[in-house]
């Protein structure tokens, strides 16, 4: 009896000592968690709001670690076995068991977006896993760790490298899917050479009311919301579906001839609401509110930060994945280290910021065409956008200045060997200069050529930079080894392609500029071969008509993919004279295509008015 009591006493003492020890170290552990930013007010609030996560934190007790190990091993084993049916739920569970461990979120999102996705073989599956990776980070990882830099960086990297680059053989699927999602939310930005127009479009969303109550404070908006409620439509995601379908807004809706007339009473009432001229102001306000709401709640984006980025870097089209790469990489630094945009640069965002800006220069102009077979995956064309050259150039300069800064704090020379980005900068500007020169922005091309040669800027050496701009372009072309005839033909085709793609997409300014360039190339080439009749090109009008004929019926001959809807948009945007010229050449082939795709030919390609 005494022995038993003794054992009990000793055990009691041991338990007491263990408890005291635990109590003593709990305070330092907590303070260390705060120091290491593992514990923030926001993250703890987020967890408190989610009973499942709270339960998973507490219920397994000491078994949490072995459970995590088991789940982790199972997830990797199933992955090796090619069994992905449970992959997402297992990863969700693992992350829920360790919500404050950013490495876990980052690893599993990367695993889904990069590893599991490439083990599948259909575009739907691939996109599902890439978007699962995005959602895990954006919707859950960042919800629990809102200020974590690693998670922002990882998310930005998925947008930039996985979706934005061409390493994955289905990269176009990702780009198209993402463009489709964002087109649904924001529509296309207004076309204009001035970046301010696109910025103003986003500003409308930024200035939209934050809550429904604030929206309802405006009598007209409240009335519109009430009318929507009468049709069982809430001012949320659902509103966007109807707005895009029935409003006929050129920047958001599919072509009118493709939209079926509403048949039931509810849809008819909704269509009336979306089209009524007298409700346009209220509708615009509700639209801005809904766009803001969807951006914030579904895509977890901050419209204010989007606006700041557009003001600094240019008219970013949010349907382009590179814009999102820039958004998340800069936001990460802003949140984690409290930096404003002036303190953020390509050096502290890895390659993402600079790479994203360069990609926008190459692919920033987006044309989205509705795909009736798969509305989630529209047809998308990405064309170069010179409006981002300046932002990229500025970013290069900013980083260069940081790199060459002397220890004393005095500025150094940008052409010093410390500027590791200088060669890349010169190459980028050289390419951009050619792009601008042939795109009709000669003044801009000249400015950047001067920047390359300027002793106080890049101070590029070499014979090629001693020439004037025309000489520089000629030399670059000569170095490319393409004969003049072929080069002229390529330039002419490229200019016409851009012009007519812009026309089909509703971008009239770009159409006029690119067509003017095509004419100029043609004129210059005719002049250059004036003494050689065998090289004389046909008249511009004939070239243009032939080009249009090929673009409408055999686009693959020029390496283009032109969906039927884009062809219809293009045909309907042509001048009546051109329509009359082209119609007999293309009608029969297009009629057959329309039959195959179950589209009414006469609606999509109406016969032109007869010549007087």
């Amino acid at each position: 009896m005494l022995r038993e009591r003794l054992i009990q006493l000793v055990m009691l003492l041991v338990a007491g000592a263990a408890l005291t020890g635990a109590a003593m170290i709990s305070r330092p552990i907590k303070s260390q968690r705060v120091e290491l930013k593992l514990l923030t007010v926001t993250s703890d609030e987020s967890i408190a709001k989610n009973p499942r996560t709270v339960l998973l934190q507490v219920a397994p007790g000491g078994l949490r670690a072995p459970m995590l190990s088991y789940l982790w091993m199972r997830s990797q084993q199933l992955k090796e076995d090619g069994k992905f049916f449970d992959a997402q739920q297992l990863r969700d569970l693992i992350c829920d068991l360790s919500p404050h461990f950013p490495g876990v979120w980052a690893f599993h999102a990367w695993d889904m977006a990069w590893n599991i996705s490439v083990a599948t073989h259909t575009p739907e599956e691939r996109w599902m896993w890439v978007s699962n990776g995005i959602r895990l980070l954006r919707d859950r990882g960042l919800y629990y760790n809102p200020d974590n830099l690693v998670l922002h960086k990882e998310l930005a990297w998925i947008f930039f490298s996985k979706m934005g680059q061409r390493t994955d053989d289905m990269h176009m699927t990702y780009k198209r899917r993402w463009a489709g999602e964002m087109h649904r939310v924001l529509g296309a930005p207004p076309f204009s050479d001035s970046p301010d127009t696109a910025v103003e479009a986003i500003r409308l969303i930024v200035n939209a009311p934050y809550t429904l109550a604030k929206l309802n404070a405006d009598a007209a908006s409240a009335d519109f919301v009430k009318r929507l409620a009468g049709c069982d439509v809430k001012p949320d995601d659902e509103f966007l579906n109807y707005y895009n379908l029935y409003s006929g807004a050129p920047l958001a809706s599919p072509p009118k001839w493709l939209v079926k007339e509403p048949t039931d009473d509810k849809d008819k009432k909704i269509a009336n609401l979306m089209q009524a001229e007298e409700l346009s102001d209220a509708r615009a306000k509700v639209l801005a509110f809904v766009r803001r709401k969807v951006l914030v709640e579904k895509y977890r984006m901050n419209p204010d930060w989007m606006l700041e980025l557009m003001k600094l870097y240019g008219p970013m089209d949010w349907r382009n994945v590179n814009s999102h790469a820039i958004y998340w990489s800069t936001l990460g630094l802003h949140k984690a280290e409290g930096k404003g945009l002036s303190g953020i640069n390509a050096l502290n965002t890895g390659r993402t910021l600079l790479g994203g800006l360069k990609s926008l220069t190459r692919t920033g102009l987006v044309y989205c065409t509705y795909n009736p077979d798969n509305p989630e995956e529209p047809f998308v064309d990405f064309l170069p956008d010179c409006r981002f050259v300046e932002a990229t150039h500025r970013e290069y300069l900013k980083c260069g200045r940081i790199l060459v800064k002397k220890p004393s704090g005095k500025p150094g020379r940008l052409d010093s060997s410390k500027n590791m980005l200088r060669d890349g900068h010169i190459t980028f500007l050289s390419n951009a200069i050619q792009q601008m020169y042939f795109g009709g922005w000669e003044k801009m091309a000249r400015y950047y050529y001067d920047q390359i040669r300027d002793e106080d800027v890049l101070n590029a050496k070499g014979d090629i930079y001693k020439r004037d701009l025309h000489g520089f372009i000629r030399e670059k072309r000569r170095q490319s080894g393409v004969p003049t005839t072929e080069m002229s033909s390529a330039l002419l085709t490229a200019a016409l392609r851009r012009a007519y793609r812009a026309l089909a997409g509703g971008n009239h300014d770009d159409y006029l500029r690119s067509r003017a360039l095509a004419r100029r190339v043609h004129r210059e080439y005719r002049k250059s071969v004036a003494g050689k009749p065998r090289l004389k090109p046909p008249p511009f009008r004939k070239i243009e008509r032939n080009f249009l004929g090929i673009m409408l019926v055999r686009p693959r001959a020029m390496g283009l993919e032109v969906p039927l809807i884009t062809k219809a948009n293009l045909y309907n945007a042509l001048s009546p004279t051109m329509q009359q010229e082209i119609y007999p050449l293309v009608a029969e082939r297009l009629r057959r295509q329309c039959q195959a795709e179950r589209i009414d030919f006469n609606t999509a390609f109406p016969a032109p008015a007869k010549k007087n």
């Binding site: 090619g82 992959a87 739920q89 073989h121």
Partner: protein
């Protein structure tokens, strides 16, 4: 028999009245309904059904195993601890009848619970099967035109609600190559020199080597070893696909298209020799030796991850043959394809009968655990018995991991600890069955056929020719005996009865 029936009946009723059964039944219902209605898998209908089948059958199995252990253990040990056994022992009831009756009672109840649980799982899986896929939903709502084929629906019908047999490729015919290579070696270096070099390499002592060289039997043995090493090298080489080259795999014993029209699946795993290579460019071509051929299908593959694709049954010839080509299009990377890494799965039966056989696989596990609980329960107390049986259950469940972790390294001499752990695990699994060898839930999820042979092995014993993975002992006797849980169950009951028979239930004080 009447005695056994009486104990069985009594045990069944006694167990059914316990609170623990009610709690476990509630848990079981929550698990099955929860997994059925809450789990969404990867978002596809196929993924949802697979997740449901995987979790519901695994949890059913786990809960029933736990309840079997606790019920059997508590009944037997409490009989002895609380001296209820005196009232039984004083009756004209043999001890073996008591042991068997108790075991039968628990197994009977567990069998009933298993039937109810699996019945619910079956009904729920059929309910899920009727749910529309994403494409079907969109087509119904008129959002998009119906697309064909709907891969999700095809997957549900051809990969889950089916029973598919696995066919391995025919081993490469290497005898001709081997003869040619040996002939070439003998011509180049002479047979005597070959044998001499081999013996000198394996026996460092020169005198001993000379002695061996003079003996015709050892010379023949050495030559056989050379031949065997060469054979292995050629076989290894036959599994390598060099850049720009192809490998031909022939499958036989399939059902021709005229006998079955369901789709076949080719499942494969590619192992690149270049470390860090995560994706591989390649192409597959499926050929009917007597008929149609499709053009090669280019694919970007994920390395060391199992992938699959479906093929039409028209590629199987009337003789049941199918030829598959794999082209390695990855520059500078050799790809290795092990014989087990490429399989063809073909439907041989229906889901329902396979599901019933999966139930039998679970049942034998419960029978085994009940028997082991009886074995320990007759001479140990409740906590010790529970702990011992739980230990056996855990070890059996993680058997694959244990085998893998204690495998002797192929390169270099294993250390003493590696030998110890390897043979310790081997020894343990003479008595403890490997639960992970036949996982009912894995087989159901993959729609793999549970062959009668598998059931015979689990319930009784099978005899077969040793394979490449068989141990040295089996290779020596040229016969491999495989047994699962049935024989072990009988053995546990027999030992339990023997111990119980000799046990003094009431000591004289």
């Amino acid at each position: 028999m009447r005695n056994i029936w009486a104990v069985t009946r009594q045990t069944f009723i006694q167990c059914a009245r316990t609170r623990i059964i009610v709690v476990f039944c509630l848990l079981l219902a929550i698990c099955i309904l929860g997994t059925g209605f809450k789990m969404t898998g990867d978002g596809t209908l196929k993924g949802r059904i697979q997740t449901f089948l995987s979790y519901s059958t695994s949890l059913t199995q786990l809960l029933l195993c736990l309840v079997t252990i606790f019920l059997t253990t508590s009944i037997i040990t409490s009989d002895i601890r609380h001296k209820y056994i005196f009232t039984v022992a004083s009756k004209p009831l043999a001890r073996w009848q008591y042991v068997l009756g108790r075991w039968c009672g628990v197994v009977g109840l567990m069998g009933l619970l298993l039937i109810i649980a699996l019945g619910s799982i079956y009904l729920l899986s059929q309910h899920l099967r009727k749910q529309p896929t994403r494409i079907e939903r969109e087509a119904e709502s008129g959002l998009t035109q119906p697309k064909k084929p709907d891969l999700d629906r095809l997957g549900v019908e051809n990969e889950i609600f089916t029973a598919r047999d696995t066919h391995l490729p025919e081993p490469p015919d290497i005898e001709k190559v081997l003869r040619k290579k040996i002939k070439q070696l003998i011509e180049e270096r002479g047979k005597d020199n070959l044998i001499r070099d081999h013996i000198n390499k394996t026996v460092p002592d020169k005198a001993q080597a000379e002695k061996m060289l003079s003996h015709p039997d050892t010379r023949q043995q050495a030559f056989d070893q050379i031949e065997s090493a060469l054979r292995e090298q050629i076989i290894e080489d036959a599994h390598l696909v060099r850049p720009g080259k192809a490998i031909v795999l022939t499958f036989t014993g399939l059902k021709p298209a005229s006998a079955d029209e369901s789709l076949l699946q080719i499942r494969y795993k590619l192992n690149p020799f270049k470390s860090g290579k995560t994706t591989l460019a390649g192409a597959w071509q499926v050929v009917n030796p007597d008929g149609p051929t499709d053009p090669p299908m280019s694919r970007s593959e994920s390395a060391k991850t199992t992938s699959s694709f479906m093929i039409a049954p028209r590629f199987v010839s009337e003789e049941g043959r199918l030829t598959v080509f794999y082209f390695n299009l990855q520059p500078e990377t050799i790809v290795k394809i092990q014989p087990r890494d490429v399989v063809v799965l073909q439907r041989v039966g229906g889901f329902e009968s396979n599901f019933a056989r999966a139930g039998l696989l679970i049942l034998i596990r419960l029978m085994f655990l009940a028997a082991v609980s009886v074995l320990f329960g007759v001479f140990l107390s409740f906590p010790i018995t529970s702990l011992a049986v739980m230990m056996i259950f855990t070890v059996g469940t993680i058997s694959a991991f244990l085998h893998d972790a204690t495998r002797l390294p192929r390169q270099g001499e294993p250390s003493a600890f590696e030998y110890f752990s390897h043979y310790l695990v081997k020894g343990i699994f003479i008595a403890v069955p490997t639960f992970s060898r036949t996982s009912a839930s894995d087989l159901l999820v993959d729609g793999e056929y549970i062959a009668p042979k598998t059931l015979i092995r689990e319930y009784l014993v099978t005899f077969q020719q040793p394979g490449t993975d068989s141990g040295r002992f089996w290779k020596t006797i040229n016969l491999e005996i495989q047994t699962g849980m049935g024989l072990r169950t009988l053995l546990a009951l027999a030992v339990g009865w023997l111990i119980f028979r000799r046990r003094e239930l009431a000591g004289i004080s």
